[in-house]
């Protein structure tokens, strides 16, 4: 009788666990749906609900892994609806929290992800996310014409860039192209030509950024700083006349469109996992996994994989006073997501199979203890333990899901005065009238996250 009750209780608990064990990307599905439906305000409301905050201006009481990602997502969406002050507050809060989680990550988190669940450890942001927090926040400050704040973000980007280059040995992340372009613009507008040229030099190492060549040639006349790349640009032609001498100002466009692939949970039988990933496993693990597969019991491998990106074939458009402006791709963020995923995929599969072996071992022990008198009870206990642990094993689908898949830029000179600007990408539009001062510069962005 008591065993029946215990089993019933276990079934109820398991049921509750199944309900409570949605992965991050399953929880955020309604947010992505709202964005796809062109309703960013609903997406923000859903994130607020997840964080248990009353208003989009509130931050959650605790910035743990999940909430930090929700705040990052909300920051991106706020930027997409031109709420730049709200966006910068969110991105800055998340920036600190993500950094803190990264610093606090330790062996316990790794052990948890190998034994218990892929989502057990603290969230560790990949390099492109760390770099994009400051890069996108710079867009907020430039939109608000707050050069002081933009310079702070540029310096934060430099610190993170140095860490990623020195400690993670990754010095050629293309996100730095966009970051360099925006940071260079920030220091150019702050009348700090040396610092601006250092950043532009960095941007020029990546493809594109043709829009930079004339401004760089002009800037080189105000500075002694040179590098081989800058010398090449200098040799490519004479510097243009300064915009203020010709009664002109400049408009800089930053257009993000689409959405990076998010992670999705995958559950496959061990036999299939061995067929696909045996090359990534140690021989001992392959042997153990093969023994388990041969028994044909409840042996599932839970692991995350990448879903599709949004907006791969989109073509963004920008016009000034009805005239089209040529945009050029500054960074393909999707490529970064896929590249980073390829680097860690093997480790994630191995940890998933290790967890599966641990589950099997735990089930076997429980089954052996429970089945000393009755073999059927032992088998049920074994299966029940494995099934419960399988359900508890949440594939780590955490990521910054609302990043634009691609970002395009343009920088054009216009006569000083009033101009109507129109931006359009994936059905998301932004129209505004800009007052451009002589020698001034205005940054206009659009983030079409669908």
């Amino acid at each position: 009788m008591i065993d029946t009750r215990a089993l019933s209780l276990a079934a109820v608990v398991t049921g509750l666990l199944v309900e409570g064990c949605a992965t991050h990307s399953e929880i955020t599905l309604p947010v992505r749906d709202a964005l796809d439906a062109g309703n960013p305000h609903a997406a923000i409301a859903l994130l607020d609900e997840q964080m248990d905050v009353k208003a989009p201006t509130d931050l959650p009481a605790e910035m743990d892994s999940e909430n930090s990602l929700f705040v990052l997502d909300r920051g991106s969406i706020q930027q997409s609806i031109a709420q730049f002050k709200d966006s910068k507050r969110d991105l800055e809060a998340a920036d600190k929290a993500i950094d803190m989680l990264d610093l606090a990550h330790d062996a316990k988190d790794d052990i948890g992800s190998y034994i218990f669940s892929g989502s057990a450890g603290k969230y560790q942001a990949p390099p492109y996310e760390k770099l994009l927090v400051n890069t996108l926040d710079m867009v907020n400050y430039l939109e608000l014409q707050d050069l002081n704040g933009a310079r702070v973000e540029a310096r934060r980007l430099a610190v993170m860039q140095k860490y990623i280059s020195d400690d993670l040995k990754e010095s050629d992340n293309p996100v730095l192209g966009l970051g360099g372009f925006l940071a260079g613009l920030t220091f150019e507008e702050s009348e700090q030509p040396d610092e601006a040229l250092r950043w532009y030099d960095q941007a020029l190492q990546f493809a594109g950024f043709h829009a930079l060549r004339d401004p760089v040639r002009l800037l080189l006349t105000k500075s002694q700083y040179r590098s081989p790349r800058l010398k090449d640009v200098e040799a490519g032609g004479p510097p243009p006349a300064a915009p203020e001498d010709q009664g002109q100002g400049e408009i800089v466009f930053v257009v993000g469109y689409g959405r990076v692939p998010h992670k999705i949970p995958h559950r496959i039988p061990i036999g299939l996992a061995l067929t696909w990933f045996s090359g990534a496993l140690a021989p001992n693990d392959v042997a153990a996994a093969n023994r388990i597969a041969a028994q044909g019991l409840v042996t599932w491998v839970n692991y995350p994989t990448l879903g599709p990106e949004q907006g791969k074939y989109a073509i963004p458009a920008a016009t000034i006073d009805g005239q089209y402006v040529q945009l050029e791709e500054a960074v393909n963020v999707t490529d970064q997501v896929r590249g980073e995923w390829k680097k860690i995929e093997g480790k994630i599969i191995v940890s998933a199979i290790t967890r599966m072996i641990a589950r099997f071992a735990a089930g076997s022990i429980v089954g052996a203890v429970a089945g000393q008198k009755n073999g059927i009870i032992g088998l049920l206990a074994n299966l029940g333990t494995q099934a419960t642990l399988t359900v508890l094993d949440k594939p780590d689908t955490r990521s910054w899901e609302t990043l634009p898949a691609r970002v395009a830029i343009a920088r054009v000179r216009v006569a000083a005065g009033s101009h109507t600007v129109h931006l359009d990408a994936r059905g998301v539009r932004r129209d505004l009238t800009l007052q451009v001062d002589k020698g001034g510069c205005s940054v206009v962005s659009l983030m079409a996250l669908r």
Binding site: I2, K96, M100, V159, Y163, D167, D437
Partner: protein, 221 residues
């Protein structure tokens, strides 16, 4: 029948063990649930006057009240004894107090500490007004003047234009400063070393008449 009937007479020792294990597991679950509940709730607002210890811990790598107080203590104590203050005291004694404006500190760090720098500015202004040896120009007048000099698109204080500000406002001296930082990040730590500089500038010559520095270090480790 109750789950808590631990050892009824009709069960074998093995069964009793099983029941005890189940009961212990339930108790354990209840204890964990209780702990979880206690961890979930219990946030409360605290008044610093009632609990001064809440000002003690560093909450971030930014600047807090404690950092501001220590920094200003260093800087203003040294300014009190500086020759420029003696000069102002002499002028005040002769009935011609000098007019001084306090300009925003330049944030050259990688932290958004502008509101803290504004607090430092206001503290300095209060200290100077209460010293009663100079006239101090109201900051709101300065904002209008900066807009006139720098234009509406970027109405931000630029120390290179101090002589122009001085002329517009009719001030003899500017107290200003800047804060820089060295920020380093490793795999398991982040350290920000702040360098705070305060200076008195003669607006007619742009000469730095007094300058002093203070250091603050914050870290996550």
């Amino acid at each position: 029948m109750s789950f808590y009937n631990l050892a009824p007479s009709n069960v074998t020792p093995r069964q009793t063990m099983t029941r005890r294990t189940s009961f212990a597991a339930l108790l354990g679950t209840a204890a964990i649930a209780a702990l979880a509940c206690s961890a979930c709730g219990g946030k409360e607002y605290v008044r610093g006057a009632n609990d001064p210890s809440i000002d003690q811990p560093a909450m971030s790598t930014g600047l807090d009240k404690d950092d501001i107080e220590r920094t200003l203590q260093t800087l203003l104590n040294q300014m009190r004894e500086a020759p420029i203050m003696d000069e102002w005291r002499v002028k005040a004694g002769q009935g011609s107090r000098q007019t001084v404006a306090i300009a925003p500190f330049q944030n050259e760090t990688d932290e958004h500490v502008d509101s803290q720098l504004d607090a430092m500015l206001s503290e300095t202004e209060t200290w100077l007004v209460n010293s009663n040896i100079t006239r101090v120009v109201d900051q709101s007048r300065q904002a209008d003047m900066i807009r006139q000099v720098e234009g509406a698109q970027h109405p931000v204080f630029d120390p290179r234009h101090i002589p122009q500000y001085g002329k517009q406002l009719g001030v003899q001296f500017y107290i200003t400063g800047k804060i820089g930082a060295s920020d380093e990040r490793t795999e398991d730590a982040r350290r920000v070393q702040y360098f705070v500089f305060m200076q008195v500038i003669d607006t007619s010559t742009s000469e730095i008449r007094w300058q002093q520095k203070a250091y603050v270090t914050k870290a996550v480790r």
